[in-house]
């Protein structure tokens, strides 16, 4: 999590609700990079590669249950904060299930004005986890850059076998990225 720009993924199929949520998130912090999805396929295609600092998800979507989204995030993005923002969550068992499965919180859409305060609380709780993730990511980036620069230098050499070695290293670099 960068000091000043937060990465927020929103899973929401209603465009009006999506814009309202975005506005409230900006109330917590003005500089945000969003990524959004309206259905399961788009969500599964985008969320992991986006590497969000936070996921906000509707509970009832046309082609998926919000719990499936939570489980997907827990499986692929471990401790990323995940908050349900939903119109209806009138079943106490569902609330308990959401929390037991690792949701960081939930909020009714009627109470979106409380979102900035909830975000402040959740992001503070998860700060050290996200900072650690950022360090690991930066290390991976440094290694990728060193490896690819070396490959480029190797390709520019006219030494016998250099191109073959460069191609093998390129495969390794591509697999690691």
């Amino acid at each position: 999590m960068s000091d000043d720009i937060l990465k927020v993924f929103i899973l929401e199929d209603m465009p009006v609700d999506l814009e309202l949520i975005k506005r409230r998130v900006r109330g917590y912090r003005p500089e945000i990079l969003f990524s959004t999805a309206r259905d399961r396929a788009e969500f599964e295609r985008k969320v992991v590669s986006f590497q969000p600092d936070l996921v906000l998800s509707d509970y009832n979507l046309p082609d998926m249950n919000g719990l499936n989204a939570l489980l997907h995030v827990r499986q692929h993005l471990d401790a990323t904060p995940f908050i349900f923002i939903t119109g209806i969550l009138n079943d106490e068992e569902k609330v308990a299930e959401a929390i037991l499965n690792g949701a960081s919180g939930y909020l009714l859409k009627d109470h979106l004005d409380q979102l900035p305060a909830l975000l402040r609380k959740v992001m503070t709780q998860h700060r050290s986890v996200l900072e650690e993730r950022e360090k690991v990511w930066e290390k991976r980036r440094e290694h990728q850059i060193k490896l690819r620069k070396s490959i480029a230098e190797l390709r520019s050499m006219s030494a016998p076998g250099a191109d073959q070695i460069a191609s093998s290293l390129q495969e390794v670099a591509d697999d690691l990225s």
Binding site: S2, I5, K7, K22, E31, I32, L33, F34, S35, T36, S49, F50, Q51, E134, W137, E138, R140, R141, Q144, I145, R148, K149, A152, E153, R155, A173, D174, S177
Partner: protein, 107 residues
């Protein structure tokens, strides 16, 4: 064929990028990135064709915040941003047709 220079950006320009209302395409590359050099040339031509899209280029080594924000670990990377949202992205080499399709699908 006509070309238009890409706007060079870095970490200091992130706020500008996120506040832009229109479409912005960002190539993340470096001077030693062979594929990126070719893609830059292709994008310079696209910049003339798509006058309503902002075409930018950033260096993978000197823009660590930008790379972290858009999850670019290695060049080349192509990003499409609109109204503070990452609309689409691609990693790795892309030819002219693939770049054209990428722009058309998202503009």
């Amino acid at each position: 064929m006509q070309r238009s220079d890409l706007i060079t950006i870095n970490d200091d320009k992130l706020g500008d990028i996120l506040s832009q209302n229109g479409l912005t395409i960002i190539l993340v590359t470096s001077s030693w990135d062979g594929y990126g050099i070719i893609m830059r040339s292709l994008l310079e031509r696209k910049a003339v064709e798509y006058g309503n899209i902002r075409f930018c280029v950033a260096d993978v080594e000197t823009s660590p915040k930008l790379c972290r924000l858009f999850n670019v670990t290695a060049p080349p990377g192509l990003l499409l941003v609109r109204n503070g949202e990452l609309i689409d992205h691609r990693s790795g080499a892309m030819g002219g047709n693939a770049i054209g399709d990428f722009i058309e699908q998202n503009s």
